[in-house]
């Protein structure tokens, strides 16, 4: 099954930690652990902060563009990963080991429709 992990947290408090160029990013040990378990990392990335977000609607007659994220909330989507694994238990494990979850954030696990 394919799942999208949406990493959610407060971007001011939990945003990406800067790391020196010669240091590995904080998610590398997670990626190694997942690969060792046979969880396939299809793709994923951190996202730029919501201050860079643009919201687009199409009313039919015009395209409405606004600055900012889809919803103003206390927590924001900080990044995402698409993984391929056996079942929800594996996906829950992957989410529980992610640095965002370990640092007080929340990970939403969503099955990808096309993989069902």
């Amino acid at each position: 099954m394919r799942y999208m992990l949406l990493m959610c947290g407060n971007e001011e408090a939990d945003g990406p930690a800067d790391h020196a160029e010669d240091e590995e990013p904080c998610w590398m040990p997670w990626a190694r652990e997942m690969q060792a378990r046979g969880v396939l990392l299809v793709e994923g990335s951190q996202l730029q902060p919501t201050s860079t977000a643009t919201t687009v609607r199409n009313s039919g007659s015009e395209i409405l563009v606004a600055d900012g994220p889809f919803a103003e909330t206390k927590e924001q989507i900080l990044g995402y990963d698409v993984i391929e694994c056996a079942d929800l238990d594996e996906a829950i494990y992957a989410a529980s080991r992610h640095p965002v979850a370990l640092n007080g954030g929340v990970v939403e696990v969503r099955p990808v429709l096309a993989s069902v």
């Binding site: 799942y3 056996a86 079942d87 929800l88 238990d89 696990v109 069902v116």
Partner: protein, 411 residues
């Protein structure tokens, strides 16, 4: 009831969960499994009447349900159905190995899947009752006082989530097993309590749910014989249920433990509960259910209320609170301490709890305080606490009990 009808009713009790669980493993389709199981039992009503009851009713029902599923899948022309058909044909009687020997009972897979933490607690309870116990949607709706349509929606939503989110149909691997087993036990105990002390409404007892919980508890204890907490929960339910006949008087009024007619307690259930508990405790892995069962056993073994070993009960509550920190457990410990060392000692603990405001809104806090004050003959204060408890009590019999006590201390 004819012999065939009686045999089908008996088989329904014994075999429903097993037939559904096996069909789910074969087809991966929960709705199809339930419908085909239902068909098999309906067919049994006519066939058993004409041909006689088969030697192995369970095997007959599973085969009939499986054939029905195959028919349905053959008639449906979709690719998915063809794949399911292959799965049903290739792996019917092929259960996976369990540990070194033996097989995993499909009902155990079903139980763990129904109680998966990715489902809401309400959904876990409803799904367990529907698929394992075979209650109808209407019966479950009635038991939980919600409209049937609401319950039907809840069940459908849960089954879709299992399918679409990829909740596995299996007994969890060793590293997840302790936590998931606790989850299953939690669902069964909630079910038992829902039957034992209804959380809302006019009837204090809804015995059907308690009976189902005990039946499922027996099944789980049989399927997981090495888990002392499973036996602990079964023992706890049996020991509590043994008192159910004495909890209400002829007029339907609540009778407190100390005033209950002990000869009305079910001696066979008590003996079975104590036997199970002693075997579990010998494994030296005490947990919350074994400790609660041990407390229930202290009550069950006392010939009269005055013979109760309250010192032992207070110690057991202390141990329980150490494992599961909870204000409700501390309140129970306070009651035991009051019985062992006098109401003053208990009242001090109750007042500490009240000051911590952890139990604000919980009627047993003022009710306990009121009982202790009554024993100390501090009537006006007792009356004030009874009034406070009356405001908060959830069911009619509980309110009537408190009103009677209030009248006593007011006279």
């Amino acid at each position: 009831m004819t012999d065939a009808q009686a045999a089908v009713a008996e088989a329904f009790q014994q075999e429903w969960g097993k037939v559904v669980a096996t069909l789910i493993r074969m087809t991966g389709d929960w709705d199809l499994a339930e419908e085909c199981a239902q068909d098999a039992f309906t067919t049994a009503l006519t066939r058993w009447a004409s041909d006689g009851v088969p030697d192995r009713p369970g095997a007959w029902l599973t085969t009939t349900a499986r054939n029905r599923a195959l028919d349905r899948l053959r008639r449906s022309k979709t690719e998915a159905a063809k794949l399911q058909e292959v799965a049903v044909l290739s792996g019917p009687e092929e259960p996976a190995p369990w540990g070194d020997s033996g097989v995993i009972d499909d009902r155990l897979r079903l139980m763990f899947t129904c109680c998966h933490p990715a489902l809401t607690l309400e959904a876990r309870v409803a799904l367990t009752l529907r698929t394992l116990a075979g209650l109808t949607t209407a019966e479950i709706a009635r038991a939980f006082l919600v409209p049937e349509a609401t319950m039907a929606k809840r069940l459908t939503r849960a089954k879709h989530k299992i399918r679409d989110a990829g909740i596995p149909y299996r007994v969890p691997p060793a590293h997840l097993l302790p936590e998931r087993t606790t989850g299953v036990l939690g669902v069964l105990y909630l079910l038992f309590n829902e039957g034992y002390s209804a959380s809302a409404g006019d009837d204090l007892l809804r015995p059907d749910l308690s009976a189902e919980a005990i039946r499922l508890g027996r099944l789980l204890a049989q399927l997981m014989p090495d888990e002392p907490e499973v036996a602990g929960l079964l023992a706890l339910m049996l020991l509590q249920d043994a008192r159910s006949g004495a909890r209400l008087d002829d007029a339907g009024e609540l009778v407190s433990l100390e005033d209950q007619e002990r000869s009305e307690w079910d001696a066979a259930r008590i003996a079975e509960g104590i036997r199970l508990l002693e075997a579990a405790l010998r494994r030296q892995r005490a947990g919350p259910y074994q400790l609660q069962a041990a407390i229930a056993a202290c009550h069950a073994e006392a010939a009269t209320a005055a013979d109760t070993d309250w010192t032992q009960i207070a110690l057991l509550y202390g141990e329980l609170r150490r494992i599961v920190p909870s204000a409700v457990i501390e309140l129970n410990r306070a009651v035991a301490v009051a019985m062992a060392d006098g109401p003053e000692a208990g009242l001090a603990l109750v007042d500490e709890l009240a000051a911590s405001s952890q139990l604000t809104g919980y009627y047993l806090l003022p009710a306990t305080r009121a009982d202790l004050l009554r024993r100390m003959d501090r009537k006006p204060e007792a009356a004030a606490s009874y009034r406070e408890a009356l405001e908060l009590a959830p069911t009619e019999p509980e309110r009537r009990y408190l009103a009677r006590r209030l009248a006593e201390v007011s006279s």
